[in-house]
């Protein structure tokens, strides 16, 4: 919208790019490593079982936390860059 002094369109595109990238990782650790790709990771053993099991019961949750904090941190930077952050 032209009424804004900041570059609204590019701000929104930057947000969508970040979300898209984050959701790829989100899907990869849970639906990928923990479920669909588990047979491929079966060769990597972790404490009496395989990497896929670890992702299903531990790894995916840790990755979700990292994803949210990364998103919050990057978005705050993007907010500032485009001047849409709150005072």
């Amino acid at each position: 919208m032209s009424g804004h002094s900041y570059d609204a369109e590019n701000y929104w595109k930057a947000n969508l790019r970040l979300i898209f990238g984050s959701l790829i990782v989100w899907a990869l650790v849970s639906y990928g490593c923990a479920i669909l790709l588990r047979p491929m990771l079966a060769g990597i053993t972790v404490g009496g079982t395989d990497l896929g099991f670890w992702f299903a019961q531990q790894g995916s949750i840790l990755a979700f936390i990292a994803l949210i904090f990364h998103y919050a941190w990057r978005m705050n930077k993007i907010d500032e860059k485009f001047g849409v952050h709150e005072e």
């Binding site: 984050s22 959701l23 849970s30 669909l36 972790v46 009496g48 099991f53 949210i68 978005m75 705050n76």
Partner: protein, 590 residues
């Protein structure tokens, strides 16, 4: 001191704390009541979300489900945490920027339709009421087991406590009691887990202990567990499964459902800024993960402990005699959650998988076994955990207080979502828009009180389908609310007709699929097909259908919207404005 006295001290002490907090955090305005004044720190809010989210199902039932299902039930762990990624990126910051009090209010404003708001109110109430029944029932179990009162009396005590802090303090009272309840429940959950992990592996951190070596056998703990249970005809704990499509869809339904549950979403309206909503989601998941990373360790270790209790000399030797059973089996037998039947009259407790026909016709027959003799309800695993591991009696008192904290904090959050939908969306939004601030606050308190009475009544007389309604709550949230909210933010093209058509078709599709297998309105005998994997379409369980319902909702909304006229300019400007954090201010009434 007796165990009973210790339990009373722990539970009574925690209840007293909640009431003191409630008196301190009394709500003076509707803003206090709906969004805690809008000034909650993101870390405090994260902790409150943790308690709000972690229900009796997470605290009491989840580890038992994982213990029983092994790898295949990892779906609960991923599903109930992965939804926070969706919340943080797709909903929370924008809804915070929108800055109103309830979820139906956003749907009503964005889709410029009272009908859309009404559909959202109905979805919210059905999802929240079904969810609250489970909390009250969970509180009843904890009371009847630990406080030696019958569960009706226990439930009424619990309801009075919730009544005091929820009616008095609204969101403000609930938020600060939830912080206290989070502390109680996480301490109660992790302390026994640390002890058990130390006993079995020597590692005090349960998530690491899960992948460590079993001290007695020298094998990794999961390998030892696999060995013990496969010796008894059970499926291997860590084995992969065949029906991956269903596992993916079930996980996705839980994730999308989590993100669409209104009692979680409204928590993000309580923080001061849009950036805080993002941080809050991260902190919430940190606090939730403390329990969710511990649960799988509790699950496998408790199952191994249970098996070693029954077969102290190993699976090849004789199981224990019934007369020599430990005290905790006796106490749980009294509640009916453990049942023993000496099928082969040898006075010993045989536990094995009698549904495994090959095992039953070979090993079991050779050993003179005549069926599995001990039925253990999954729900007791966490509650009995300290007793199974012979932990000191104060740990048992702590577990009782923790289980109640989990059930009551979630119940309070749900009740707030229900009462604000009634007073703000129905009364102020439709029936009497000119109601004064004071009048609305009174209406909010009255609807909260009515909701507590109904929830308590349902907890005392749980409908027969109580166990299945959780699927219903997640199905509704996934198939109706989440897509509508997401499209309201990410699309300017979706209009009122499209959104309503989408919500209704997603909902109808999901409900129909659940009812075909579970019975229409869950009335036994009215199902059209038996609820077994052979009858499911493409192997998709009714529990997993919410994800498909969400896709139906998105598709219908887009097609209908594109066939009808685009939303008015001011609505497109509204969508623009929720996308940019600047100028958020605090949650507003108007």
């Amino acid at each position: 001191m007796s165990q009973f006295a210790i339990n009373i001290i722990f539970v009574g002490g925690s209840f007293l704390l909640y009431i003191l907090i409630a008196i301190w955090a009394k709500a003076g305005s509707t803003k206090d009541f709906y969004v805690a004044g809008g000034g909650v720190h993101p870390i405090t809010n994260g902790m409150a979300i943790g308690a709000d989210w972690m229900s009796a199902a997470s605290f009491i039932s989840m580890a038992g489900l994982i213990a029983a299902g092994g790898y295949s039930n990892s779906t609960y762990l991923m599903g109930w945490t992965g939804g926070y990624v969706l919340l943080a990126m797709l909903l929370a910051p924008y809804l915070r920027k929108f800055g109103k009090f309830t979820v139906p209010e956003f749907i009503g404003d964005r889709f410029y339709s009272k009908n859309a708001r009404l559909v959202a109110v109905i979805c919210l109430i059905v999802a929240s009421v079904t969810y609250v029944i489970g909390q009250m029932a969970g509180a009843g179990v904890a009371f009847s087991r630990f406080l030696e009162v019958d569960s009706t009396t226990g439930l009424i005590i619990a309801a009075v406590v919730v009544f005091i802090y929820a009616v008095l303090g609204g969101m403000k009272g609930i938020t600060y009691t939830q912080v206290a309840q989070y502390c109680v429940l996480i301490i109660a959950y992790t302390i026994p887990a640390v002890f058990i992990s130390l006993q079995l592996t020597g590692n005090p951190i349960p998530p690491l202990g899960l992948f460590s070596t079993h001290a007695d056998s020298g094998l990794p703990i999961l390998e030892k567990l696999n060995q013990v249970i496969t010796d008894l005809g059970f499926n291997s704990y860590t084995a992969d499964i065949d029906n991956k499509l269903n596992m993916v869809l079930f996980t996705l339904s839980l994730m999308v459902g989590t993100a669409g549950l209104p009692h979680v979403i409204i928590r993000f309206f309580t923080v001061p800024k849009v950036a805080d909503a993002r941080w809050s989601a991260g902190w919430a998941l940190v606090f939730i993960a403390l329990l969710y990373l511990t649960a799988p360790a509790v699950a496998s270790m408790a199952r191994l402990n249970l098996m070693t209790t029954i077969y102290p000399e190993g699976t090849a030797a004789q199981p224990i005699e019934y007369e020599a059973r430990p005290g905790w089996i006796q106490t749980w037998e009294e509640t009916g959650l453990i049942r023993f039947e000496d099928k082969n009259n040898d006075g010993r407790i045989q536990v094995y998988n009698d549904k495994n026909e090959q095992f039953a016709s070979t090993t079991a027959q050779e050993r003179g076994w005549n069926g599995n003799e001990l039925v253990v309800n999954n729900d007791i695993l966490v509650l009995a955990n300290p007793e199974i591991a012979n932990l000191p009696s104060w740990v048992i008192g702590l577990i009782a207080a923790g289980g109640l904290a989990a059930a009551l904090s979630t119940a309070a959050g749900l009740l707030l979502a229900i009462s604000s939908a009634v007073s703000h969306d129905l009364i102020k939004g439709s029936i009497n828009p000119n109601i004064s601030e004071k009048g609305e606050l009174r209406a909010a308190r009255i609807s909260m009180a009515v909701a507590i009475v109904i929830a308590t009544w349902l907890g005392i007389n749980p409908p027969g389908f109580a166990a299945q309604v959780v699927a219903l709550a997640f199905g509704i949230a996934a198939a109706s609310l989440f897509p509508a909210l997401m499209m309201g933010i990410f699309s300017k093209r979706v209009n009122n007709t499209g959104a309503i058509a989408g919500m209704l078709s997603g909902l109808a599709f999901t409900l129909a699929y659940i009812f075909v297998y579970k019975g229409w309105l869950f009335i036994p005998g009215t199902n059209n097909l038996p609820d077994t994997p052979e009858n499911w379409v493409l192997g998709i369980s009714p529990l997993s259908i919410g994800a498909i319902g969400a896709i139906v909702n998105f598709a219908v909304a887009f097609v209908v919207s594109n066939a009808t006229e685009e939303p008015p300019v001011e609505i497109q400007e509204l969508v623009e404005s929720v996308r940019y954090p600047r100028g958020a201010g605090q949650a507003q009434d108007h």
